[in-house]
Symmetry: D2
Subunit: 452 residues, 4 copies
């Protein structure tokens, strides 16, 4: 049976990486048909994706039937949508330069700078007003639609949607946990010879986005967590990368050696489930981000905005060449879960994966209403969270500290209350080394530069 | 891949109905092999089941490889078990006659009498001491085993296991929700023509055992709950039975016309998810059990102990004939979920179904630690509850009242505190019509007769 | 130091009993001065109270300095008020006749009929719309004022005020607990010879209004609760009245023999802290209100509306004679706590007494936001609840059942949702003996008669 | 009426400061009589206090009648006690030197070092085992006694008592909030001319010991919090000391200029209610303890162990001279609340003051069972907490972070789990500047030196 007339609004439809993998997966979903309405303030980018999407659908291997359109307005894209995907880049690269590099003058290094830390705070300041408008438009145009958020800072985006439209059916999707599941599959293979994919194992993960922790992981009757200590004995010193050679981090800004993850495991007894680049931003900066020497020692890198700009230009060139037919558009499963989630919601399969939702019981020990990431079940119009196991107290303390900061920041921005925003800023673990005065100075400087 | 050496201890292994359907399903699970250790204080009954089980395994259509043994002691059965199934009949039919029929002299009719009401209270009094021993034996012999309880009163059995051995991996299984899911499939078919099985739809159910409520039910993108009002218009007067003609209740003591369920839906806006015979015992007896006339009006029957005795004798005869080879042992899927759950836990498939577990967040609005029934996911050694939607306040009030009674009774029996036990007794909705003195008199009389 | 210019708005300022005792106490508060603005839809009644109040102030023994005025509108009374007292009679005696006497045809006797049971539900239906207007007017005219509610049904009145104006500084005052404290003083004196007033002892009370329970009571180092069992041995059969001879209930409709209270204590291990007339309405009507014989047996009476009408006429005559100077206006402390509370809030003394407030932690085990009655401290602009001890589980179950009903009713009226209102109605312990159909019939009949 | 035969066990009965002020206050409590049993491992110190206590009682102005005795064992002191005061110095000054001064080599300055931070953690490690024995002895010898703890780290001492003996009637007493109340009285006087003592005003304080926050403070109808902004304008630069000239901190190690408190108020909108020396240890050390320059800038000092040793010797000399009759023993009210609390519990007055108790609802937003400090009422055998107002989210985040650390440390010590203890150590705000390796090195060094 084919589900026809599915309308998907893609906000940030000019997106490079995310949109392309989505379009591929969608083309392979033979039981779906309908329209993808791309909307982006960068109209040419959306138009390129329209062409690319159409080309993908025209390939022999394509199984589904989707029309790609470009919407002239947010409302046009949302009207009648069954699903809304939001994947935007809030602000410019110049804004991001403020987020990531201005704090360096104060000794604060950031490996990503988009979730917490000074960079996360300022990105949130830019993003929330946009999301307030999204929530309002969804309420007006498609209140029954399912909303999949991909944008960072994840927790604050999802919180804003629920704050402005409490009946919204929104959740936040992130693949960081997947990588750690891949890592666990490597552990399994290394220690037992069993070959399993991340879909074959089951993990209990919970926390806040980019700082979730896995407490249990099993493949059939094998307890993978029990294999970790010996695996760490073997690989802690050299590092280990689930997706390439252990030293890939020296060449690839997104790679890392999992030494941070292993170190945290030794201390807290649970496995932090995100790339090391993210994890280090949730703890005092003296731990892993003290200086460039320390960063190197822990086998990860700092993603610079210059790199992001160059990468973006490369992706645009690629898109242009694909759109112009000078480069083939590949068609293969991406490994991402978006289309699987859609199929789950539509009742075409039952899917269990981790997503970000307001806490209503799924993460005991965390405040009600805070955005937490846990496993959820997707089936027949349900996206319902599964109750997670308690985190070890030490790990929970770290998570709560960050969750409190996020909630404080979220409330501060909602109320446009500078004191609350600054209170969240100064309480960021990455700001732990700043005196109050320095924190204020840095905050004011970032505020000023952002407004330029 | 076949999972070998799975040891299943079956406590109450002389059980008639439950054991037989379990043995059939197990024989059809081609990826399992191992031993079923039957233990029962009625040794001949266990021996008959050993023969029957062996015969089933020898059938051509049998796919799995299981040995049936009879254990001489509880400990022998439990030793090394991976799974423990408990399905016992606490006490004798004479005890049950006290439970069910003594209260009749006080105007209290009971349709089942094994969960709540005077019958449920007295059955709990008999059952808890036995379960205290089970918990202790499991702690000693197989602390890592998964324990599936089938015995009633369900909530109190499960609560006792967790009270006596907090690390136990126990849950309670009941098929009552399945019947209501079948009912919803009928609604779907009647109103839309769509044919779906209960596995194809998804329902959000929560409550206490035998008094759960479905708040949402969908088949793909069809909201089945929205079909109910019109269905009720059509069938409320005549009744409707998911498993036969509408008047089957006049011939079959387990059948019912779902008129109670429909009536409760009209009043509370959610669908109580158990057979009507169970539901009526959770509300004031004036509603549906006032007198035999009222019972008839609502299209259900009162199961008598005489009927149970006759039925038991019929089942014993049947077992004997099967054991002696004078009657063929059928082999077909039973529709029950036990073997599916086992396969889920063993990582052979991912299963979602309703079970009874201590509340740790899955049912907001209910006390932590109370035994609640919600959906759970079974996979790779995990049995994790899914967070349910809030019940309508009116329904929640009814559930909480019963849950408070159950917790009070459970605590009273644990502490052997007659005052608490009586406080629970007198607060039973089925006792609502008794004065304090009458309640005391009935209680004392039942106490005395039980001790005989 | 005298606190001048205190403005007190008295809504229901034509009130007979409550207003008169308040005016007396106020006259004796030598450190207060200001204005009492009486407002009542029965203008002559307010005018009589104005004259009486003025006369009281003119007495030699009067220590304070208050002007009594009659306001032409609610807003005029509220404007600039520091305190608002609300003590109204919602509806007419004809309405009350429906509340109290119509259910008799269905076997439901009510001793008061103003809090729970069919009478409480219908009184709530009349009262909530009026309180919605009060809340709105207070928000507009005197948002900072302290609001003391005296009207029943207490919990629903207070809940309505907070629902419509969440920042309101309102609480509900009731003297029922005082009487039980007096009873405990009698117990103390009888058993030990110690003479103490209720201000000398301390009790831990919690529950919902008219159904609070005392779990601990001490006078210095004497545990009064430990004296109860022997006291009950002595007085359970004959009854005991804290305020007169044991058989006063045969002559005085407000009196009672405390046999219900003693009976509940025997069963639940805590002392229900309200007059027996109230207590019996919170439990199944078969317990103490089965029939007139049962009522008599338990040594209390049913207050009829005819009695209320006659009493009202007597009070009006009395007021008129006082106003006309034909009868002396007495001036003596009333024993009520209103003026003491005012003085506490004004910082003139520190007062601890029981009041009704939304639960924000003071009564563990009860839902957040439900209106609960516990001890509170009144001092320097603070009215802060004290955390109560856990009730015995049996008593808590009874309280929660009623609290769930109240919250359901409150929500039903707020949303004008007849289904929720009826769900609360049918779930009233006093309706336990009705079948669903009878309950519906009674409800409809009361609805209809009320609208006449 | 005089309460005779009150037995008070004073554990740490050789205490200098605390014991002396207690003995004075006790001598002035004319309605009390009985025995004070002093117990101390430093027997001569206890004997000196026995002599001093006896001398105080013999003074003309002494109103009560107490015998001072020295107990040869803990059990002897506790036997039959009505009250137990615990005021010990866990370990030696050499231990304290490790607590306070070893971290200096790692850039960590501590102004007190007895509550949180590296010093607090190590003091807890020494103290918990002693408190486990206290709890056990109290359970055995005087399970009904009221236990007043004065020892730091307060939260962990109280938590240990409740962990080892859940029925204990213990609470923790601290005078830090009193000083901030004095400060508020100064604010009141400076801004309005009103003269009030701390007993005249009422404050809503909540948090963890030494890090409580005042959210509201009123004197009659004056809102003192509203006076703060202008007061800060006047005194923020110069500082202000409630107990002497603003620059007293330059001469007195216990004095401070309240600049930290004022700074926190500006940022968080609530007034931290402890001496600045304590407050600074609960936030990242970069804020106020970065270096000695920063400390000076914020107008407080670091109390050295050398100072403590010298002071101790001075106090011993003083005690000796008093005991030998060469120095007069003064007799005047101390301003401390211990004796007042005793009188409250005995029903001789009703007292409201702040104490430390397990959270059972009094501090919403904090975990149940964590030790929190809020107002409590003391009366007739009751010590019941008052529900506090919500803290501003920013302040609450700081409190929760410390509370999580305390709970983690407490659990770690209880389980002798070095990983949990270290996880708490490294998560201390004062350790924020350390890298993981440095933290480990410091921890190991302190561990080793402590064991010497």
């Amino acid at each position: 049976m084919i589900r026809r007339n599915v309308k998907i609004a893609y906000i940030g439809g000019g997106s490079k990486a995310w949109a392309r993998s989505f379009m591929q997966d969608l083309a392979l979903a033979g039981d779906l048909a309908g329209e993808v309405a791309l909307y982006d303030i960068d109209v040419p980018a959306a138009e390129r994706n329209q062409i690319i999407g159409t080309k993908i659908q025209q390939k022999q291997e394509a199984l589904s039937d989707f029309q790609y359109t470009v919407s002239g307005s947010l409302e046009e894209a949302l009207e009648g949508a069954d699903f809304v995907i939001i994947s935007i880049l809030p602000g410019t690269f110049e804004d991001m330069r403020v987020d990531v590099h201005v704090p360096e003058a104060y000794g604060i290094l950031q490996s990503v700078g988009d979730t917490v830390g000074p960079g996360g705070v300022f990105r949130a300041l830019r993003t929330v007003p946009v999301y307030e408008e999204f929530a309002e438009a969804i309420r007006k145009c498609c209140p029954e639609a399912w909303v999949l958020n991909l944008t960072n800072p994840m927790s604050i985006c999802v919180k804003t949607l629920y704050r402005c439209f409490p009946q919204i059916k929104a959740f936040g999707c992130c693949h960081e946990v997947f990588h750690t599941q891949d890592f666990l599959c490597c552990v399994l293979r290394e220690m037992t010879g069993e070959k399993a994919t991340r879909q074959d194992i089951y993990t209990d993960a919970s926390g806040v986005n980019h700082f979730t922790w896995i407490t249990e992981a099993r493949y059939q009757n094998i307890d993978i967590m029990e294999l970790l200590p010996e695996f760490l004995d073997r690989y802690f010193d050299t590092g280990y990368y689930e997706n390439g050679p252990a030293d890939q981090w020296t060449r690839d800004t997104f790679a890392y050696g999992n030494r941070v993850k292993m170190d945290l495991y030794k201390k807290y007894g649970a496995l932090a489930a995100a790339g090391d680049r993210h994890l280090v931003e949730f703890v005092d900066n003296s731990w892993y981000l003290k200086d460039r020497e320390t960063v190197k020692k822990w086998h990860f890198g700092l993603t610079t905005v210059d790199w992001r700009i160059a990468n973006q230009q490369r992706l645009i060139r690629e898109s242009a060449e694909m759109a112009q037919g000078r480069m083939d558009v590949p068609l293969a499963p991406s490994g991402e879960a978006l289309v699987t989630m859609l199929r789950g919601i539509l009742g075409l399969e039952t899917v269990i994966t981790n997503v970000n939702l307001p806490n209503r019981g799924q993460m005991p020990g965390m405040p009600e209403g805070s955005i937490v990431e846990t496993n959820c079940i997707f089936t027949n119009g349900f996206v319902d969270p599964i109750v997670s196991r308690p985190l070890p107290k030490g790990a929970l303390a770290l998570v709560r500290r960050n969750c409190d900061n996020i909630d404080l920041l979220s409330e501060g921005i909602a109320e446009r209350d500078e004191d609350k925003i600054f209170a969240s800023f100064v309480n960021q673990p990455l700001c732990a080394g700043l005196g109050m005065d320095q924190a204020r100075e840095l905050y004011d400087r970032m505020r000023e530069k952002s407004r330029e």
